[in-house]
């Protein structure tokens, strides 16, 4: 997928002016957070499970080579084939080769974020193979030629009129005078159209939420059942999975299943959690005859042993973006690549370079909500701060920001001077905001005050107040 992350600032301007997007964001925000809160409240052990999940993932990452080799050996024992791919190019070539060998004309696809990373649809189309997205949200995005704006609710930025318009434009074989009275009508039409595709497909491509080392299984978690039809009906099933998806056992999977749906959609469990192990057995009446896993690195090994290793614990639940004030202001497309929100702000610079994605870790208020809801306790704000440091060290930050930071640093290294200067600034701001406790405009900060007032200090710095409290024996 071509990144527009370098144009983050322009993307944001467009998003803020997009009334339809803002409507969808405002509509969705309370329900995403509210559903998770309710599901978590109903499971008293949830907080402890987060620790267990974090520890399992850390254990896996420390032994990732062992678990991948074990998993791979077990896939092959059960009749599957593993294709190890270092780069996106390798993975695209592997998928294409399997499809060509199968003589595929149509390929159905379950929802998979790694497939967006590979831009596999474009690659297949270029070689005369028709890819069909079957997740409802991904299906309409394919019709509209848009990328997903969210990792689990890819089309929530669209309103009902958008669906109707796209269906009328694309399903031209259906009567023009048909009525879309309610959401159900949209769903029914999509179900019918996609059924034809499921039955015609020669190959089905899914992602994987987990790979189980013990059994050589891949696991998908869905609500629609499209992933299951994708991997059950065609003759060939291809799983796309990145290396950090492996976990040791089915018991480890149980912990992640308890965390995943609650964090993602606020369900206790998603509707379909399916473990696939190898190809159809001799006496089976259905299921694919070939089972392939395309195992993809695409930059992840470069994070191991660095301060970003913790990001590889991510189970792609989307809780971080669902609770992010920045995400819900600018929407997912602004981030400009596959992964939006806080997890994207950490992962994208690692996968496409901080030179291209440096804006993303800067677009954070550091409110910390993302870390507090992460089911595997990834310290997302800390990792974003590491990217800011790297960006600064590599002289990628803009000159204005660099000189301001340099001025701040000069003061910060001289504590007495720093306290004097901040004391003076606090008194000055307090005087400016007298009576109201805020100011509507400030010299040199017009960009900031254009959209909101600056709350002013009460006239004393924290240091000064702390020292006074100590003197008065209140501490």
């Amino acid at each position: 997928m071509l990144a527009t992350s370098p144009a983050f600032k322009q993307n944001v301007k467009g998003a803020l002016a997009d009334a339809s997007l803002q409507k969808a964001l405002a509509f969705t925000r309370p329900s995403f957070a509210g559903k998770r809160t309710a599901a978590v409240a109903a499971l008293p052990e949830f907080e402890q499970l987060r620790d267990v999940g974090r520890d399992i993932k850390n254990h896996v990452l420390a032994n990732l080579d062992f678990y991948l080799e074990t998993w791979s050996a077990n896939v092959e024992k059960s009749g599957g084939i593993v294709h190890w791919c270092s780069t996106a190019d390798d993975a695209r070539a592997a998928v294409l080769a399997i499809c060509q060998k199968a003589g595929a004309k149509t390929v159905t696809k379950g929802k998979s974020m790694i497939s967006e990373e590979l831009a596999i649809n474009d690659h297949l189309e270029k070689h005369g193979i028709e890819p069909v997205e079957t997740d409802l949200g991904e299906y309409i995005l394919q019709l509209r030629k848009e990328p997903p704006s969210h990792i689990i609710a890819p089309a929530f930025h669209l309103n009902r009129e958008d669906w109707e318009e796209s269906f009328r434009a694309s399903h031209t074989d259906l009567p023009e005078d048909r009525v879309f009275g309610e959401r159900r009508d949209i769903l029914t039409e999509a179900r019918k159209k996609l059924r034809e595709k499921f039955l015609a497909a020669d190959v089905g491509i899914t992602g994987a939420n987990f790979l189980i080392a013990e059994t050589g299984s891949s696991v998908i978690v869905t609500n629609e059942g499209n992933g299951d039809l994708t991997q059950t009906l065609p003759r060939v099933h291809i799983v796309l999975a990145s290396i950090e998806k492996v976990i040791p056992t089915l018991e480890d999977a149980c912990t992640f299943l308890r965390l995943l749906a609650r964090s993602a959609t606020g369900q206790d469990m998603s509707v379909y959690t399916t473990f696939s192990t190898g190809a159809r057995r001799p006496a089976d009446l259905d299921g694919p005859e070939e089972y392939h896993v395309v195992l993809i690195d695409n930059g992840r090994t470069g994070m191991i042993g660095t301060e970003f290793q913790e990001m590889l614990r991510c189970i792609r639940c989307a809780a971080c973006m669902n609770h992010c004030p920045v995400y819900f202001t600018v929407g997912g497309h602004s981030y400009g690549w596959v992964y939006p929100g806080p997890m994207g702000s950490v992962l994208t610079p690692a996968l496409i370079g901080v030179d291209k994605a440096g804006h993303l870790p800067n677009a954070s208020t550091f409110c910390g909500k993302c870390e507090s809801v992460c089911p595997v306790k990834i310290p997302l704000p800390k990792l974003m701060r590491h990217w800011r440091e790297r960006e600064f060290e590599r002289h990628l930050a803009p000159q204005g920001m660099r000189s301001n930071l340099a001025i701040w640093a000069w003061f910060a290294k001289r504590p007495q001077l720093y306290r004097m200067a901040t004391g003076l600034a606090a008194r000055l701001l307090s005087w400016l905001g007298r009576g109201k406790g805020r100011v509507a405009s400030l010299p040199f900060a017009a960009g900031w005050t254009a959209g909101r007032d600056l709350p002013t200090p009460e006239g004393e710095t924290f240091f000064a107040r702390y020292a006074r409290a100590q003197r008065e024996g209140k501490l």
Partner: protein, 233 residues
Amino acid sequence: MSKENILNAIRRGLKRGPLPDDQAMGLRARLAGHPRHLIPARSRVSRPEQIALFIRNIEKEFGSVARVADFAAIPDAVAAYLAARNLPTDFAIAPHPELADIPWDTRPLLQRRPGRAQPSDLVSLQHGYAAIAETGTLMLPAAPERPTTLNLLSDTFLVVLRASRVVGAYEEAWDLLRAESPTQPGGGFMPRNVMLVTGPSRSADIESTLELGAHGPRRLHVLLVDDDPAALG
């Protein structure tokens, strides 16, 4: 070789070579022992309460349950469910011996077609292997007598399940499968496919609003056979 490249890149990051034998032994022991982690207390209740929890959770997820006294009562229960919803009385049915033994001739109008599901099937009837009370989840491992397509292609999905096969937590269901599943080609116990199903198919992709029956069944109905005296509260 991509495989060696990836493994070496991981080892470089971890600042070590291949795992020393003693450490690999420890990990193999963890795999062989597959230890359980924290299991939520909600399913740690008496048998009757576990069954009640299972039913509550199925209903919470938009499924339904009919308790029947024994297998002989199933034809009536199926006929009543289909008739109440004006559904067709012909259906695809799992070719499982337990289902074949049901006295279907008491309801001659019910037309059964044993085998996998066809895309035109409106109703399917599956054999429930086990179920998990914790979240109202059915465990449906693929087998010649339990084809996967039955779970997916129909509009109305019926499942016959023995109450004695309802367990508390996911881990207990995996224990059943580990103990009972026939050895597969290659030596493992995992069937080609194991589906954990919690309610009927759904999507919230259109305006973040839930609609049932996205690609899979719109209705899920469990016929729960009370074969477990301890579960009758």
